[in-house]
């Protein structure tokens, strides 16, 4: 049944295209119904699926001549991310309720994107996974190029090219793996079970890992992320930071690391103090955490602050993956969900609640507007989201980052120290942005036109996201109890043998 999350999204997109041109409200309702149905299916599957082990949804021959199958399956990791996609999809529609320009096309591209994201998370055949992964690029481009702001065509093209280059790297790795294995199958099981020669894994692993990690915002390939996020319309930024970047991280874990676990093994020599790809990528992840936070600290544009904070938070995920211990990997996956929710919330506040009303994102210009008086709901939401994003206990970010730090402490104590530094800077940049945008010294006598009050869809969207973050923060076992069995499944055997404690 979980497969219907994909079909219903594509079907919704098709229905939207066939609607008459003027039916704006109808388009919103159709999109909303589709997203809610998708979420409901995901939620039912999540609740029913307690064991956390792999469950096949569909498995049929697709291209028998090449041994490629239409194989959808879900384990605990997929389920968490599918659920996240459902939540972000619904709230994204709530936050874009005010789109008036080419509404039905907007939601059609939106649902196409959502459907493919579900597809990536549920695919178990690598060819199928790649197909969905590539489809994602196209709606992303058009959502930004048509409905975006600030240098939208540049941002959209940069994003499309980065994604496509990344997926080209993945494609090279997958084709090579398919041919080298000679198993006549693209199934994740078959390929992960095949013992690729070490020298092959040594080049294929970084190739595929970096290919996926480009989309996850790995430093120094992150530069598409801030420009793309800033240029994108609110709902697209939410999806982009909320789920699309997770696709990259998911691919790193699900494909690169399971297929080529020996790629993480020591090289046998040291270069600049680095002894393996694991060292290289964990160092890059920490640089990303600190660099993203530092750059967010000096931004003048409110949305760039959030854009760079995403780079910083994604660094945590990659670091968690590189710890290779259960707690670190667990943390990485919880962080994927947590950051998906919080990034959605932050972009919702900045892009929809603030920018759509004030038409500026300059922190210096927002300050004098007395936003905490004009739109108190936005201010409160941002404070909550900011606290969650800093990693305050009680919110999802805390649980996730704590687990990653614990994992990192086992694996690389020195890098854990650097990560702590990143968390401290994280507090500072959120504080600074909050203060400058919402609680600046009010300029007496300045007369601003009253801002339109926060609408119901916005309140609802913010409410849902905050509730999710708090729920995960208070009860992270909700996610970990399905994630841990998934991580202990035979699929990750290779990783476990390669130094997993």
């Amino acid at each position: 049944m979980l497969a219907w999350t994909i079909y219903i999204s594509f079907f919704g997109a098709l229905v939207l295209l066939l609607l008459p041109r003027s039916s704006t409200t109808l388009a919103r309702i159709v999109a909303m119904l589709t997203a809610v149905t998708g979420f409901a299916i995901a939620l039912i599957a999540f609740v029913e699926h307690r064991s956390g082990e792999l469950q096949t949804i569909v498995r049929a021959d697709w291209m028998p001549t090449l041994g490629i199958q239409y194989h959808l399956a879900a384990d605990g990791i997929s389920l968490c991310l599918v659920l996240l996609t459902g939540v972000v999809a619904i709230t994204g529609i709530l936050f874009s309720w005010n789109i008036e320009k080419r509404t039905k096309e907007f939601f059609a591209f939106y649902l196409l994107l959502i459907g493919s994201v579900y597809g990536v998370f549920l695919s178990y055949d690598l060819f199928l996974l790649f197909v969905f992964y590539e489809i994602v690029i196209i709606p992303k481009y058009f959502l930004i190029a048509i409905w975006g702001s600030t240098r939208k065509e540049y941002g959209a093209m940069k994003l499309a090219i980065y994604s496509f280059v990344g997926s080209a790297m993945v494609l090279v790795g997958l084709i090579a793996a398919y041919v080298v294995a000679g198993e006549h199958s693209m199934s994740l099981d078959a390929l992960a079970g095949f013992a690729f020669p070490v020298h092959f894994q040594m080049w294929a692993f970084p190739l595929v890992f970096v290919g996926f990690a480009i989309l996850a915002g790995l430093w120094p390939f992150h530069t598409w992320a801030p420009t793309g996020h800033v240029a994108a319309p609110t709902a697209a930024s939410m999806l982009l930071a909320g789920v699309v970047m997770k696709l990259g991280a998911y691919g790193c874990l699900r494909v690169a690391m399971t297929l080529f676990p020996l790629g993480l093994a020591p090289w046998g020599f040291h270069f600049l103090g680095l002894g393996s790809w694991r060292d290289v990528f964990s160092l890059l992840a920490v640089i990303g955490i600190i660099y993203g936070a530092m750059v967010a600290l000096v931004q003048k544009d409110f949305k760039f602050v959030i854009g760079y904070s995403s780079v910083s938070h994604m660094g945590f995920i990659l670091l968690g993956l590189m710890t290779l211990n259960t707690i670190g990997l667990e943390g990485a996956i919880v962080q994927m969900v947590s950051h998906g929710i919080l990034a959605g919330l932050l972009f919702g506040v900045v892009g929809r609640m603030v920018y759509d009303r004030t038409h500026t994102r300059e922190l210096a210009a927002l300050g004098p507007m007395n936003l905490n008086k004009a739109i108190p709901f936005a201010a409160i939401t941002f404070v909550i989201a900011g606290m969650a994003s800093m990693g305050l206990p009680g919110f999802s970010g805390f649980a996730a980052e704590l687990m990653i730090l614990l994992g990192a402490w086992h694996a690389f104590p020195w890098l854990a120290v650097g990560t702590g530094l990143g968390i401290v800077i994280g507090v500072v940049y959120v504080w600074r942005a909050m203060q400058k945008a919402f609680f600046a010294e009010s300029v007496t006598g300045a007369n601003h036109p009253p801002l339109e009050p926060i609408s119901f869809p916005e309140r609802l969207g913010a409410g849902i996201l905050i509730a999710c973050s708090v729920a995960i923060g208070l009860y992270p076992q909700m996610l970990t109890k399905v994630i841990v069995p998934a991580l202990n499944s035979p699929l990750f055997d290779g990783l476990r043998k390669g130094g997993w404690q």
Binding site: L17, W62, M63, P64, T65, L66, E105, F127, F130, V131, E134, I135, I137, I138, Y141, F142, A145, I146, E153, M157, A160, I161, F164, V165, A168, L171, V172, I175, A176, Y178, V179, V180
Partner: protein, 495 residues
């Protein structure tokens, strides 16, 4: 050699049907349709020609002949039949795009030439004999030169045709020279005989290889022999350009593959990275690499959509040459899938360009501004065609590339011999997304130059373009439909 003429005609029934239709078209247009409007004449003659091609397909499907005549001069087997059907189907789509045209008064002659070129292709793919290959290639080429020049009111059309003709004549000379050396080396024009007498590379054979690669490199528009392509693609009448870009590509690539893989099998050499060995493979590999790089990079700076397609065709020729370099059965299967679906997407793209051109008078990028609001269905189809060319799943272009690359890696022992070419091809196709998106950006993102004005789309063109887009999606989502057919044909034909 006691084959009777009746036997020959029955063997060559599809070709006979097409030739007869060609003559019939000429007669009908000259005698019956002189007084009619241009529109009626185009519609009637094209439909007549389509019926002819359909009957040829029917004869291939219902009563396929098998065997060969006069040695290997004239072959019929499931593989040849498949390629012939593909060529005929692409011709039919081209002819249907002609229905709404009005670029010339010489309607009958134009359709006649299309059918003559088709006949050339049908003979071209049904032989393993150098003499027949050369003559049918010339029949095809001469028809294409004239078709390019058919828009007589457009000086650029004549210029392009002259350029095409001069380059084409030169390359034909090279090809003939190469063939004559092959004959000299083996004392036969049959590819099988040639294969039997060529073992290893002699200096004379090197000359033959180089000249043959030049001759076919020109036909398939591979760099550095592509100079005719941008002009021809830009200035030829739409149906002629679509025809040159699709059907003629299918036939030329198939024959190129046969000559190299069958005739010169004993002198293949190798193109593994840093382990180049003497033979034709390294020569083709150099041409392929150059085509991919040059085609994709030069396409970026084009402002005419037709020229952009021409350079993208150079790039695609580069990808397809990888299949020839591999030259195994699986490579041939991948090549056929690729070139046929490429033909579908290209004809479709030309169909859309034709509609836009008719309204705006040119094919500059800015003529496509806001196309999605001026013609929603048409631009949705353009979306499918260009993304398929860029290799985005689930469209046919993606699976074509995937299969092509997989089979190229399978072709060499150790799997890594052609990896450098595959990596180059994938990297270059990442570049290609940029320029295809440039066109789609105009169509979907940029606002129309004149607000609220709908683009009049002729019904037939609209239908043809929609069918082609459907085909691209269908063959992309279910590649097995085509692949199964190709592979059973290959297996049944001794490959």
């Amino acid at each position: 050699m006691s084959t009777s003429y009746l036997q020959l005609i029955r063997f060559a029934l599809p070709e006979v049907i097409v030739v007869a239709t060609a003559l019939l078209v000429l007669v009908v247009d000259l005698l019956l349709l002189r007084k009619q409007s241009l529109r009626t004449r185009f519609a009637m003659t094209s439909v007549l020609a389509v019926v002819g091609c359909l009957s040829a397909i029917a004869s291939l499907v219902l009563a396929p002949s098998l065997g060969s005549l006069y040695g290997e001069m004239f072959l019929a087997n499931p593989l040849v039949n498949f390629v012939q059907i593909a060529v005929l189907a692409l011709t039919i789509f081209t002819l249907l795009l002609t229905v709404d045209s009005s670029f010339t008064n010489h309607v009958g002659e134009f359709v006649f030439l299309v059918l003559l070129a088709t006949t050339g292709m049908l003979f071209l793919v049904a032989t393993l004999d150098l003499l027949v290959i050369f003559t049918s290639l010339e029949l095809l080429s001469l028809s294409l030169y004239i078709m390019t020049a058919f828009d007589k009111e457009n000086a650029r059309s004549s210029e392009a045709a002259l350029k095409y003709f001069l380059f084409g004549g030169m390359s034909a000379a090279f090809l003939l020279f190469g063939f004559s050396i092959l004959y000299g080396l083996s004392n036969s024009t049959s590819l099988l005989q040639i294969a039997a007498s060529i073992h290893g590379v002699s200096p004379l054979l090197v000359i033959a290889i180089v000249t043959t690669v030049i001759g076919f490199g020109f036909k398939v528009a591979a760099a550095p022999l592509h100079f005719w392509a941008p002009d021809v693609y830009e200035s030829a009448p739409i149906p002629a350009a679509a025809f040159i870009a699709s059907g003629s590509k299918v036939a030329s690539f198939f024959v190129f593959f046969e000559i190299m893989a069958v005739g010169l099998a004993g002198a293949s050499g190798g193109a593994a990275w840093l382990h180049f060995t003497n033979g034709w493979v390294p020569a083709v590999a150099a041409v392929a690499a150059l085509s991919m790089v040059l085609g994709n990079t030069v396409a970026i700076v084009q402002s005419s959509v037709r020229r952009l397609l021409a350079y993208s065709a150079v790039a695609h020729a580069g990808y397809m040459l990888i299949a020839i370099i591999g030259h195994t059965q699986q490579n041939l299967s991948a090549l056929l899938y690729y070139v046929v679906t490429y033909g579908l997407a290209t004809i479709g793209a030309f169909g859309v360009i034709g509609v836009v051109e008719r309204q705006t008078g040119n094919d500059r990028l800015d003529s496509f501004n806001g196309l999605s609001r001026r013609a929603p269905l048409l631009s949705a189809c353009l979306f499918v065609f260009l993304l398929s060319l860029a290799g985005i799943p689930p469209l046919a272009g993606f699976f074509g590339k995937f299969y092509l690359f997989v089979s190229a890696l399978h072709a060499t022992p150790g799997s890594s011999g052609l990896l450098w070419l595959v990596v180059l091809a994938i990297a270059m196709s990442a570049v290609s997304l940029y320029y295809y998106l440039q066109v789609l950006k105009r169509a979907f993102v940029t606002a129309p130059s004149v607000e609220g004005e709908m683009l009049p789309v002729p019904a037939v063109t609209q239908a043809v373009v929609a069918v082609l887009a459907f085909g691209v999606v269908l063959f992309g989502s279910f590649p097995n439909l085509l692949l199964h057919w190709i592979q059973s044909a290959l297996a049944a034909s001794g490959w």
